[in-house]
């Protein structure tokens, strides 16, 4: 069994090597590098970036050659890896985790001709752009679905680290939840890891034990979906479609789709039109989508979800429309207004409806 796996791997790799050494001279092709913080086998965050890379490879196969490095820690090693990509002729480099921010900028200074794209960061330079997706818009949709599907009114949220993206996700989810079910509450458990199936499953079980009958997660493994399936409740997946881990439990997932962005940016470099900017694509850009709803979801719930999704795409509503208060009861924003991008990016509080405080 092992031998045939090795053989299959060998054949695949040989084919890839031959394909990579393809006719067009290397000097013509744009080399695009990708730096991943986790393994592409996580089937979550890094995996989706790699799916984007493969789409880029496919779409521009005669003009582009891609390389990836996975499991790159966010410390001192990252700078070396990024520098090596720059040194070895890569003209466009995507660094896909916020912890790569300062290393990317340091290397960008040394290689002014190379273009860098940093995901989920906020520092730019002439040759460094930033990009991310408005995952919180996806959270708004699933928050509303949760409000309809919960009986107990208790939602369990398995979260990784209290970084802004996770916090704004929790808040967007809770705001949408309470519009549908005002008495509902969200209980958050921090597993302090992006990817630890055992711990995520334990967190899920702890929340279910406390009466949660819908789970949402901001961690990368399908373990919470499995736990939900086992206990007969509902759950939302993260980063990729996780339905096969919980056919009855899995309502939908927020999926990151980087394909279009990667193709656009590579094309821009090829056309000489690339410039540093900040991209924060919402549902309207296709960078964040919702996976197909569970066929068992009631029709009216699905219709409501689609309505919210369309309203977000058309910018009729946003994830953070006022009025709402933070947990201490203080109003964050009055009616008729909505949070600016800057306010969303620097969110460090929980809204009403979330049980427990943010670590200060």
């Amino acid at each position: 069994m092992f031998k045939s796996t090795i053989k299959a791997a060998a054949v695949a790799v040989a084919a890839a090597m031959i394909a990579a050494a393809a006719p067009a001279s290397a000097a013509d092709k744009l080399k695009v590098g990708f730096v991943y913080v986790g393994p592409i086998g996580d089937l979550g965050y890094s995996y989706q970036h790699d799916v984007g890379r493969l789409a880029l490879q496919k779409a521009l196969s005669d003009k582009v050659e891609t390389t990836y490095v996975e499991n790159v820690p966010e410390g001192a090693d990252a700078e070396r890896v990024i520098a090596q990509l720059a040194q070895s002729g890569h003209g466009l480099i995507f660094t896909t985790s916020f912890g790569f921010m300062n290393p990317t900028l340091k290397v960008a200074q040394r290689f002014p001709k190379v273009k860098f794209e940093h995901a989920t960061g906020y520092k730019r330079a002439n040759n460094v752009a930033t990009y991310s997706a408005r995952f919180h818009e996806g959270r708004t949709v699933i928050g509303a679905i949760a409000g309809k599907m919960t009986k107990s009114g208790k939602i369990g949220y398995i979260a990784s680290f209290p970084i802004p993206e996770v916090v704004s996700g929790i808040n967007a989810f809770t705001l949408a939840l309470k519009k549908v079910r005002p008495d509902a509450e969200v209980r958050v458990v921090w597993v302090n890891s992006w990817y630890d199936p055992g711990k995520e499953a334990a967190a899920a079980k702890a929340l279910i034990d406390q009466g949660a009958d819908v789970l949402s997660q901001h961690t990368d493994s399908p373990a919470p979906i499995q736990a939900a399936e086992e206990r007969g409740i509902y759950a939302f997946g993260q980063s990729s479609d996780m339905s096969k881990f919980g056919p009855k439990a899995h309502l939908t997932s927020i999926v990151d789709i980087w394909d279009g962005y990667y193709i656009n940016r590579a094309q821009a470099v090829l056309d000489g039109k690339w410039k540093s900017e900040d991209t924060w694509g919402g549902l309207d850009s296709g960078m964040v989508v919702l996976s197909p709803y569970n066929p068992g979801m009631p029709k009216d719930v699905a219709a409501m979800a689609d309505q919210i999704k369309n309203d977000l795409i058309a910018h009729k509503i946003t994830s953070f429309d006022g009025p709402f208060n933070d947990r201490s009861g203080k109003q964050v924003i009055p009616a008729g207004q909505h949070l600016s991008d800057e306010k969303i990016l620097t969110m460090n509080y929980f809204v009403e409806g979330v049980v427990g405080d943010l670590p200060k």
Binding site: M1, F2, T5, A8, A9, P39, G41, D42, L43, G156, R187, V188, V189, W190, V191, N192, S193, Y195, D196, P197, G198, K199, E200, A201, A202, A203, K205, A206, L207, I208, D209, Q210, A212, S221, P222, A223, Q226, E230, K244, F245, V355, G356, D357, P359
Partner: protein, 308 residues
């Protein structure tokens, strides 16, 4: 809390404790024979990936469990050849085994990513399993949980009451004297090491076949190190290992539970609970110096060669 919630919580604690218990028991036997195998994490990972892969391909969890034990043994065999026959330093060899295990399991596991499997079947005894609270806890577990408890008793009996266990302990206490009496020191150590490897493999398989039936790179996530620490914590006694595994597993789960309740202690401090508690309890039970000295296998980690 309602009886259902109590029962559910206890089941989760069992799930958290069992992989630790299986691995720790195996390592306990290994260390009792005087061999320090720090490769627990690597052996657990290989067991997890092999168990999952075999179950996936064959469709049978039994095949998976057996494959996991054999895979763990194979890794332990590599260690044994290096450390027992070639007399390489045991500490470094064990650490190298962990590095190898992490890389090898990731390599082998590529085709298994994203594949869900049904979890290990759990016992159902009509009438008994439906009892409130204790029903599922005692009569509704899966094979590996029952095996872990059986191993606690079995290893205790083996070490304390059987002649073979006495021989093994002698080898761990003083390998020169044991050799002088005529016991095959190296062979016994090989067997102890292989047994430890099999148990670690099963501990890893419990994660990939029961707790979260899937394969994910590095899914053991450091539990191997906890298991190693638990052997020390338990002063090399099987019953204490059981207590330690459940103490740690219980607190590890408990802190997640506390977070859900909305405790305003920062989650990082709650996460420290199991580690701090282990230190505190160890300190309390170690105060009696004589008891500790009697328990550490005197030849732990020392290479054995007949000419010395």
């Amino acid at each position: 809390m309602s009886p259902d919630v109590i029962a559910a919580v206890m089941m989760s604690v069992v799930a958290a404790a069992t992989p630790l218990l299986l691995a720790a028991l195996g390592e306990l036997v290994t260390e009792k024979a005087g061999v320090l195998n720090l490769g627990v994490e690597g052996m657990m990972l290989i067991g997890a990936v092999a168990g999952f892969g075999a179950a996936m391909v064959s469709g049978s969890w039994i095949v998976g469990v057996i494959a996991a034990a054999l895979a763990g043994m194979a890794m332990a065999l590599v260690f044994a050849v290096l450390a027992l026959t070639l007399l390489a330093n045991q500490v470094a060899t064990g650490l190298a085994l962990t590095i190898l295990g992490v890389g090898l399991s990731a390599l082998i596991g590529r085709p298994f990513i994203g594949v869900p499997l049904p979890r290990l079947p759990q016992l159902y005894v009509p009438g008994l399993t439906d009892l409130p609270i204790v029903g599922r806890l005692i009569f509704g577990q899966d094979f590996l949980v029952y095996l872990s408890i059986a191993l606690v008793v079995g290893i205790w009996w083996f070490l304390e009451r059987s002649r073979a266990g006495l021989v093994l302990r002698a080898v761990g206490e003083s390998h020169d004297s044991a050799h002088a009496i005529g016991y095959p020191v190296i062979a016994i150590r090989y067997l102890a090491t292989l047994f430890g490897g099999a148990c670690c493999g099963l501990g890893g398989a419990y994660l990939s076949l029961a707790v979260t039936p899937m394969w994910a790179e590095n899914m053991v996530a450091g539990r191997g190190w906890i298991a190693l620490a638990l052997v020390v914590f338990a002063t090399w006694k099987p019953l204490r290992t059981l207590a330690g595994a459940y103490l740690f597993g219980g607190l590890a789960f408990g802190q997640l539970f506390l977070q859900g309740l909305g405790f305003s202690v920062p989650s990082q401090f709650l996460s420290m609970l199991p580690y701090v508690a282990t230190i505190v309890v160890l300190t309390l039970i170690s105060r009696d110096a004589t008891r500790i000295r009697l328990n550490t296998p005197a030849c732990l980690g020392k290479s054995y060669h007949p000419d010395h």
